[in-house]
């Protein structure tokens, strides 16, 4: 079996306007692999929401995308403040984003719900004061 393809990105926590670079690069790579556009769209959106969250809420982090035989796995890891109440954070509309982020069109509290909506599985490992790792999978079959 061929080795799984891995894409790694560092997500800059300082630069909000360029956030999305990792997701955009992943989209391009997946397209080159010839994957169906609906799969690419789901991966792109889920990853972009996670990338934006790392920038807004966690001062950046790392993103890894692994193309397996049967799924695409997205791992977003940060050393931010952690999420206090995950089930509350997962609710549509819940957000702690500041006003300047809202004026850019983010902070609607729909990011985590979108990540769940567009992936086949999503796991959140988080510890207050330590960080958050979110693992998502989109099935290819």
């Amino acid at each position: 079996m061929p080795d799984a393809l891995v894409f790694h990105f560092d997500v800059d926590g300082e630069n909000f306007t360029s956030a999305g670079q990792a997701s955009t690069a992943v989209k391009r790579n997946l397209r080159q692999l010839g994957l169906p556009s609906e799969i690419i769209r789901r991966v792109s959106i889920a990853m972009y929401e996670g990338e934006i969250n790392m920038v807004i809420h966690a001062n950046g982090g790392a993103a890894d995308v692994i193309v397996h035989e049967d799924c695409i796995e997205i791992i977003l890891a940060d050393h931010g403040p952690g999420i206090k109440d995950v089930s509350l954070a997962m609710q549509e509309g819940y957000s702690t984003a500041p006003d300047n982020i809202r004026s850019l069109g983010f902070g609607a509290g729909m990011g985590l719900p979108n990540m769940k909506r567009y992936t086949d599985s999503m796991k959140i490992d988080t510890e207050l004061g330590v960080g958050t790792t979110i693992t998502m999978k989109v099935n290819l079959t």
């Binding site: 956030a19 955009t24 769209r41 792109s44 929401e49 069109g105 609607a108």
Partner: protein, 108 residues
């Protein structure tokens, strides 16, 4: 209909790198996560937001074009970004509602 048909209906093209892209429906919204959660692939996206996250969202959500309502313009660097990312962006003096009504007629 194709995005390239829109300039013939009163829209001003700000970036039109992919004029053959077809429009299958419309989504209206300014909150980016709502757009990513609810817009469908090949939708024309009507908004009054014009920052670079709009270009990223249009690209990742695979919208056929961004339609800026109320005469909103795009700064020069974002026009460049849109062309580079292959995102169609057009503007109109009309309101989001008026644009939607117009497209409704054109799409049926």
């Amino acid at each position: 209909m194709k995005v390239g048909d829109l300039p013939g209906h009163g829209f001003k093209a700000l970036a039109l790198p992919d004029p053959d892209r077809s429009i299958d429906g419309v989504y209206i919204g300014d909150l980016l996560s709502w757009v990513m959660g609810r817009a469908q692939m090949d939708n024309a996206w009507i908004t009054i937001m014009s920052n670079n996250n709009v270009i990223a969202v249009a690209s990742l959500a695979d919208c056929s074009c961004v339609l800026l309502a109320e005469g909103v313009e795009l700064p020069e660097d974002l026009i460049e970004l849109a062309n580079q990312k292959f995102i169609n962006v057009l503007t109109s003096e009309k309101s989001a509602y008026e644009i939607a009504v117009l497209l409704s007629g054109l799409l049926s």
